[in-house]
Structures are given as structure tokens and as C-alpha cells.
Amino acid sequence: MTAVPKIELKGVHKAFGPKVVLDGIDLSVARGESVVVIGGSGTGKSVMLKSILGLLRPESGSIRIDGEEVVGMGAKDRDRIMKKFGMLFQGGALFDSLKVWENVAFGLIQGQRMERAKARDIAIEKLAQVGLAASTGDLFPSELSGGMQKRVSLARAIATNPEIIFFDEPTTGLDPIMADVINDLIVKCCKEVGATALSITHDMASARKISDRIAMLYKGKLIWVGPAKDIDHSGNEYVDQFIHGRAVGPITMELRA
């Protein structure tokens, strides 16, 4: 059976001025699959996610969601596609002028025009799913710890039951235990809503835990793609260097003053 992949990238190029960030990315993610893209800082992981989301526009190449081309799509179709997405941002990106429950219910109230009372009930339910008490809902994001903010952000990402969820460095800035809690929640939530997940991270523990497949991005190209269990014997020295976190190897950090 050749099912249409949920997300399909073909030859995606993106450059900022003379600096080429994505140099021909090919990647396909099947329905319900969880793919993690690893790579060093500044290798274009975020740019890749933002291109799929339509926040950035690639110069060439094709990005298909459910077989539908989204590069150069009109605003109306873009809105329709956007409803399929949920995203957990690196810094949480919670709206600090709104209460926690309003943050979680935002996509329901603004995007789907749901009544506030009903949206609030769903928000409280989603907060419970990520292990937060209903009373948290009436606080403001600035009153929460980093780990709790991440949980709220996760609750917001899953509130509209999206078909595709993006995770942008979900564990960055958390202690190892909280990071593991978040990883568990990601796995659990994706399973519950049956979502397809595409994550980017440089935290290998997280990558191993939440992924079915891992892809490594280096200098704008995906240099290795394979099942998560094969990551330790990939036979690729770049991958080996990255997952063991060695300073010495084929990847040299470009240190320029």
C-alpha cells in the first residue's frame, strides 16, 4: 500500500541572502509517525519547521501536506491547512497578557469561534491531560515555572486536536527529570490524539524517546535518515559524533569572531 504521506518535502531550498540554510531537503513523514530531526545549533532545523508551517517561504522545492502543495498557497487555503497544525514553541511562546486557560483555549475561541465557557471546559480538560490542576488555569503564564509553562504550551498545542504537531526543542532549558516528564507527555498526547509528529531537538535522550525515525540535518542537507533504534549503529561518522557529543570529528564548529 502506498499511502499519501502526511508531510512530504522535496528539494526544499531556503537561503537568507547569500547564506544557504536549507540545501535540498527531502523528507516524508507517514500518518501517525513521529520523526525527530537532530542537528547542531544553527543548522536550519527551525527554518525547516517554519517553512512547513508557511511562516517562511522556500525559494524552491515542494512541500505537501496530505498530498496538497502548500508552497505558494493562497491565504484562504493556508488558513484551512493551518487548522491541521499544532505547535509547541521552543520558548513556550505563551501569550503573557492572557490567563493560562485562555492560552490553551486560544485556538478554539479565535480559530474555531467556540463559546468561551465551552472552550474553558476543554482547556481545563487539556490541562489535566498534561498534569496541571484546574486552578492553574486562572494564573498568568509569568506566574508559572519553566516546566509548567512547557506543559501549558503542550496543552495549547493539542487543544484543537491537530492532525500534525510540531515540537521545537521541547526539552531545552529543563532539568533532566522534567525533560523526561515532557517527553512522556509528548508520547502520550500524540498517541491520544493520533497525531503525526515532527520534532527538532539536539537532546538525544529526548530524540530516542519520542521518535519512530530520526533524521540528521547538517549544512542544509539531511545526511542520515533511519529508524530510531538504528541511530547507534548508523555507520555515519557525523551522526556518531553528534549523538556522543564529541568536540573532535568530521563536524567542525565554525567559530568566527
Binding site: L55, K83, M87, G91, L94, F95, Q110, G111, T160, F166
Partner: protein
């Protein structure tokens, strides 16, 4: 020589790119402001923020402007025995010129800066990207309510400033300079025409649009963390203030240029 020409060219191209980006932003902002869906809650919040909370600073500016105007014109006009014109000078200066411009500049400092800082912080903390992923257009949600509120609320603020400013002149005229109260009021109304007030309120609406536009524009395109947000705030206030002064001349020329 070549490097000099290249530098001039680069600066010029940069300027053109900036103008183009601002024009595109303005067109987008206006089109989203006049098309539904609207966000009544947010519009109301901005109405209160711009209209109500600016009242103290605008009121204080107006009352002292009116007072100093009465004092200055009295001491100046007494040199050629024209003290009787004080009331007229105060009311014409305040309604046509000083209330809109000074209220505009004060609001630019208060509102333009806070908008640029708030939207700029939302930009650098990815909150604007988050809006998009939650199926909400940032222009509709962030920019449109602010521009609408700014354009509608500034005329209201300036009307209040007109009244308070004239009242400030009245206080100094009657209690310090010894004018007869009834005469001062009669003199105030005598030469005042509707167009004086209307031109001032038109200016106010344009200034309100410019202040909120520059606040949103600079915030929306800010980058690079705290420093970027700081620069956006400065640019929002400075550009709004300069545009207020330029458009003040243009609108005055349009109304009274003949």
C-alpha cells in the same frame, strides 16, 4: 570612489526597501482593519488604553498650554495695545494647532512606545508565530484593533484637550490678567469657526493612525531580543513624532493654504 558610490547605492536601496515594506504593511493593516472578522473585546481594550488612560497626560498638557498661551500673548500683545485679542488667540491656537500636535506627541510617547515594545516582545518570543499556528491572523488580532482605536480615540482626546486648553486660558485671563469673565467667554466664541475645530480633529485622526501604525510596524519587524525591542520602541516614537510634524503642515496647508 567605487566604494563611496556603492555605499550611497546601498543606503538608497535600503531606504527604498524600507518604504516598500512600510507601504505593504500599511495596506495590509488598513485592509484588515476595515474587513471582518473584528475582535470587539480587543478593540474595547485598546479604546480604554488609548482613550481613557491618556486623559491625565493629555489634560495636563492642554491646561498648561492654554495657561501659558494666555500669559504670553497678553504680555506680547500689550506692546501694541491688543490685549483684547488674547481670548481669540488662545482658542484659535489651541483648537487648530496646539491641542492636536501636543496631544499627538504625548500619545506618541505613551502609546506608540508601549505598542512597539509589546508587539516587539511578542515577535522575539515567537508569540506572533504562535498566533499564526493557532489560525489567527496577527494583523487582525494585533494590528487592526490598535489602529482602529488610535484613529477613533485621538479626535476624542483632542476635543477634550480643546476644552481644557481653552479653560486654562480662561483661568489665567480672568483670575490673573483681570479680564471680565463674560467678556472673555464672548471673545472666545466671537471668531471661532467650525472649521477651526474640524481641522484640529482631522489632524487628530491622522495622528492617531500614524502613531499606532508606527508602533505596530516597528514592533512587528523588530528582531534580535531586548536590544531589538529597544530600538523598535525608539524608532516608533521618533518616526511617529516626525510624521506628526510633517503631516501637521500638510493638513494645515490643505485646510488653510489658500
Amino acid at each position: 570612489m567605487i566604494t563611496l558610490l556603492a555605499t550611497i547605492g546601498r543606503v538608497f536601496l535600503g531606504f527604498l526597501a524600507h518604504v516598500g515594506r512600510l507601504s505593504a504593511f500599511t495596506a495590509m493593516a488598513v485592509s484588515h482593519t476595515i474587513r471582518p472578522p473584528f475582535y470587539p473585546r480587543l478593540i474595547l481594550r485598546e479604546f480604554i488604553e488609548i482613550g481613557y488612560f491618556s486623559l491625565p497626560v493629555v489634560g495636563l498638557t492642554a491646561v498648561f498650554t492654554g495657561m501659558v498661551l494666555a500669559l504670553q500673548s497678553y504680555s506680547g500683545f500689550s506692546r501694541f495695545a491688543a490685549e483684547g485679542a488674547v481670548a481669540t488667540v488662545v482658542v484659535l491656537s489651541v483648537t487648530r494647532e496646539l491641542a492636536p500636535v501636543l496631544a499627538g506627541l504625548m500619545v506618541a510617547g505613551r502609546i506608540g512606545a508601549s505598542m512597539a515594545a509589546e508587539i516587539g516582545t511578542m515577535r522575539v518570543t515567537e508569540q506572533i508565530d504562535a498566533l499564526t499556528t493557532l489560525s489567527t491572523n496577527p494583523f487582525k488580532y494585533l494590528v487592526a484593533p490598535r489602529i482602529l482605536a488610535g484613529t477613533l480615540m485621538l479626535p476624542f482626546l483632542v476635543l477634550i484637550a480643546d476644552i481644557i486648553g481653552v479653560f486654562g486660558g480662561y483661568i489665567v485671563g480672568v483670575y490673573k490678567l483681570g479680564f471680565n469673565s463674560a467678556t472673555y467667554i464672548a471673545r472666545t466664541w466671537e471668531f471661532l469657526e467650525p472649521l477651526d475645530v474640524i481641522s484640529g480633529l482631522t489632524k487628530a485622526a491622522v495622528f492617531g493612525f500614524l502613531i499606532t501604525l508606527m508602533g505596530c510596524y516597528n514592533g512587528y519587524y523588530s528582531k534580535g531580543g531586548a536590544q531589538g525591542v529597544g530600538a523598535a520602541t525608539t524608532n516608533a516614537v521618533v518616526s511617529a513624532a516626525i510624521m506628526i510634524l510633517v503631516f501637521n503642515y500638510l493638513i494645515t496647508a490643505m485646510f488653510f493654504g489658500k
